[in-house]
Symmetry: C2
Subunit: 631 residues, 2 copies
């Protein structure tokens, strides 16, 4: 039973959280006080009564995890940190100021924030990833608590999370929905119809409880009941009032994302009983024995392929991933129901305990990867390159989360053939390059793929690997090295009149073009830019100097933002690039411009003018030009 | 009552659809026969008993609409077209061949296909858009039928559609789920648990029916019952068998996406009763009087702003959109719960009957836009630029659908200030440029914004407008023109030593830099590239020739794929670009490289080195260089 004293303490703490949310936003001059006030009671009880978390050791594997999915309630989170004694009042009042780790929405710049939030609908699917780690990998009894706003349940990704959490029986996952009825610009779809939320959650296989989110006894009971559920995830649907506790704000429209002016602030704080200086001691988790890591660790034995054999790079990805699985027990794999196409299935068969089927839910897949890496696992997540676009917002936010995830897109480009444009990844190089701190890899050969997969494992940030559907010739010996940031000069002579730059499928076209041009007495250099980002600036500059500035870049990707853009960028000046000093650049880009249809891979490469014939033509056009006049 | 004769006809037709699906895929050597066989009975009854569609007049406003959301069942769709007498058997057997409109997944290359499918989970949300058009705009009694696979219900976008369809009471929308239990690589999450599907659908406010998808009487009754529902959308959950009717295929794993070999084909066709040559006459819709278009049409009166005033481009977007609404009754507007930030709310208030609130569901928002444009409306859909990444797969597929949609992303770049990186659109220029046939606009001033919004209305393809949160100075008179594909030379002299290229917020920084440089005796040209794609190649080439090849591009976007990439690309050779003939390019790119935090707009522009100071520094660095040595 909850004592009257405890209730009083929770009440005071909740009021402090409200007051501090108001104070911080008023000083900042912006932010979301009212969205922070509605779940203050929920958070007061969680923090002082239920959360098991060692603030001095955020990496403690036994810690509960808390995700503020409604990231705009950041002031509340920071007020909780102040109440927990880990930030000062001065820190709190640095909210939203330049250089302060208390950003407008939470990011892992703060040690207690595991993942960035602020793009709504992401917290719960990421929580699914953390709960998967807890239940199946860590096998530790910690709980994952996620506070959602009601508005964000309109995001489909939330229902992907409801679906997957139930499928995986994640009884260690507890979602709390702060049903304050008011979205940014008006009432939510469901208003205070908590029953509708409960019905949906139950239909998706969850335990659902409806409570008054300002009744401390109900909150206490709901948390206790949630912890007692052992066969399914639980959602607590809490009816609350936005701006609770202040007459001028409570349950009123027009107050979303608005800070109070100093005079209004004074009045509001008075209504809430004034400032308080409560510090609570958050309960630490009990130390638990973590089960030994699954499987034995072997030395990494990457697969090798004979030169001249024909092997698809997606096939090599599957082989290399399985090898990595044997050597690195922290590698985990996810796929979106196409593991027999991406070849993630080889890992799934060998290490089923470290494979999570995400079905056709790419957002949930990337979110789960983000959640898994919080607990230091190394997630590789794969689907068709085209379908990773479905999760682009999650990839963007993964960068804000400083997450280390490895994404693999198969079936890139028109060279997939008959399936047609809906299945062709033609924007992936652009999309993944435009992610802060990302790495973008595009191998042309099976041995190269294996070496890159090995390097992905320890690479930080968002790392993307693009694989090809078609079998292509093995070009490199198994002993060759392919460092990220490097390239391979595949053909070179001292008579080279132009340089052809390619990666993946088009490298094979470039080699065909090389032979045809050679027969006509035109020598060209051929460079394999398997590392698209970072790109090998030095080798490209040297080639431009050596071949009169004549470069032809050919890629199975839209004209915009892909390999050609990366090569052009290598010749532009910005902070981290060495400068180019050589003859005028004469660069021709060959890439996909018109919408493809179905056909054989060869027909489609030809129609897109990215095949050997198009390369030959471009080189001839270029070397025929008088020097100094561009393409 | 269904007569025995009718049942027999439906049965024969269903068998023909199966046989033809097998025949087409066997000739093609690839494709999805088994996924086409499971819903053949459902489609036979729909086509001959319920669909009201004039195949000779696909644009007939009274036509029912049918979307094959499970696009990989394209052979079934084409077999239906053959049965309807609009394609020949020879056409059918051209499936997946180069140049054939019968692509591996359906696209609007065929006149009866409204939207491309093949990225799963998109058909239903697009159907919501079509049903919104039917119920609220066309106000015609046609129905929208959507056939889904069971696997694709794992996509959150499907639940966004369930949610929104119920919210808008779309009783003209009928979804059919082909529950064949088998996904690409194994059993689906829910298998044949049709009750679980029904429970979920009902929780989301739909009428749900469970039937045996091979029982023609049950199908007939379900369709009749669905047509009789008048207050909510209906879903028919049909238990089926993949590969139904052929022993070697029926309900067996390992057959997804595999064509039969000729010998197996012969056996399968025999089991199905051999080839048939049934042609049916699909019932045409009754002609209906379409209600007069809402509202009066006025001459377009764009808002105008005084030079020197401070107005945010997002504010001008709202004003211009409202003006457009007065002049063009086919303009419709969507927003994802941030209309008071994007200023779509002005249109919503003025023309509530043409505004659809999409709540926080960006995938559904873009899908609805795609559906609305099928019925020739001009949808403008807005949210924060950052959150449009949530719908990137829908944007990609919009291009495959040859859809004409207008998307508007507000709050671009670090210049939004305190809210932090989760809210900053920093990859949108890259993402939208890498869309086939797209247009990308980025105005710097209110009058310019209005003129661009006007042009967006009639522009085909995916058109993207990037707006800025902050108020910026009005630079141009209201009489000036800003054609798409053009640019504005804002500062020019015959002594210009370098050219600064900017758009949006950074143009204002460029003008500050111009003044500072002028004070130091350095003249620079300043170009406003408000049209990022297509970019004004001619003006950029001329500037490079005039200013010794010295270009500085500055943008509030990641370094990759944005304005800088577009400018670099203007100097590369490819099919549609005029060639550059001038001094060696010395291009410096200023763009965002490190993850921003919170701060004032000025602090963040400065920290990202994209402010006036950074521009001044870059120009000085450049003009100090001896000619011929790059940056």
């Amino acid at each position: 039973m909850t004592t009257q004293q405890q209730l009083q303490q929770w009440y005071e703490l909740a009021q402090q959280l409200r007051v501090d949310s108001i104070r911080a936003t008023t000083v900042a001059g912006s932010g979301h006080p009212t969205s922070s006030m509605s779940p203050a009671d929920l958070m007061a009880v969680l923090l002082s009564g239920f959360l098991r978390y060692d603030f001095n050791d955020p990496d403690n594997p036994n810690n509960d995890r808390f995700i503020l999915s409604k990231g705009h309630a950041a002031p509340l989170l920071y007020a909780m940190y102040k109440a927990a004694g880990v930030i000062s009042d001065e820190d709190l009042l640095s909210l939203r100021k330049f250089g302060s780790p208390l950003e407008g929405h939470p990011t892992p710049v703060l040690p207690w924030v595991d993942v960035a939030t602020g793009s709504l609908g992401q917290g719960l699917p990421i929580g699914v990833g953390l709960a998967l780690a807890g239940k199946y990998l860590d096998q530790l009894p910690y709980h994952v608590w996620v506070l959602l706003g009601d508005s964000e349940t309109a995001e489909g990704s939330v229902w992907e999370a409801f679906d997957h959490a139930a499928h995986y029986g994640l009884d260690n996952l507890i979602a709390i929905i702060d049903v304050n009825r008011l979205g940014q610009r008006g009432q939510t779809e469901l208003g205070w119809n908590t029953q509708a939320y409960a019905k949906r959650a139950r239909a998706f296989g969850w335990e659902a409880m409806e409570i008054d989110g300002h009744n401390l006894i109900e909150i206490d009971q709901a948390y206790s009941a949630a912890l007692a559920v052992t066969d399914r995830p639980t959602v607590i649907i809490a009816q609350t009032k936005k701006g609770k506790g202040v007459d001028a704000l409570e349950d009123l429209g027009g107050w979303h994302g608005k800070a109070l002016k100093p005079d209004d602030e004074k009045q509001a704080i008075a209504e809430l009983g004034g400032e308080r200086y409560i510090t609570i001691s958050v309960q630490k988790p009990e130390a638990q024995e973590q089960p030994a890591v699954t499987g034995n660790t072997h030395l990494l034995q990457l697969p090798t392929y004979n030169k001249g054999a024909h092997v698809a790079t997606r096939r090599a990805y599957g082989d290399a991933l399985k090898a990595l699985g044997a050597a690195q027990p922290d590698v985990v794999v996810l796929d979106a129901e196409v593991s027999n196409s991406t070849y993630a299935e080889d890992f799934a068969e060998a290490y089923p305990e470290r494979y999570f089927e995400m079905f056709i839910a790419e957002q949930q897949m990337v979110a789960a990867a983000i959640g898994l890496q919080v607990r230091k696992y190394k997630p590789f997540a794969s689907t068709f390159a085209a379908f990773l676009t479905r999760a682009y917002d999650f990839v963007r936010m993964a960068a804000v989360s400083r997450a280390n995830i490895k994404l693999v897109g198969s079936h890139a480009g028109v060279s997939i053939g008959q399936d047609g444009p809906s299945q062709m990844g033609l924007e992936d190089l652009a999309a993944f390059q435009a992610v802060c701190g990302s790495t973008v890899l595009y191998p042309s050969d099976a041995n190269q793929t294996a070496k890159l997969v090995e390097q992905m494992s320890d690479r930080s940030g968002v790392v993307y690997l693009r694989t090809t559907r078609e079998s292509t010739e093995v070009l490199y010996g198994a002993e060759e090295q392919f460092p990220i940031g490097g390239s391979k000069i595949v053909r070179i002579s001292d008579r080279d009149q132009a340089t052809v730059i390619a990666a993946g499928i088009t490298l094979h076209e470039a080699l065909k073009a090389y032979n045809r041009l050679k027969n006509e007495g035109i020598a060209v250099r051929v460079i394999d830019t398997y590392s698209v980002k970072p790109i090998d600036v030095h080798t490209l500059h040297q080639a431009a100097r050596d071949t009169k500035g004549n470069l032809v870049v050919v890629e199975d990707h839209w004209m915009e933002g892909g390999l050609g853009a990366a090569v052009l960028d290598a010749f532009a000046g910005h902070g981290d690039r060495p400068s180019y000093n050589g003859p005028q650049l004469q660069l021709i880009k060959l890439a996909v411009v018109d919408m493809p249809g179905s056909g054989t891979p060869d027909e489609l490469l030809h129609a897109a003018k990215i095949d050997a014939e198009a390369i030959v033509e471009a080189v001839k056009f270029q070397v025929r030009q008088p020097i100094g006049v561009s393409n």
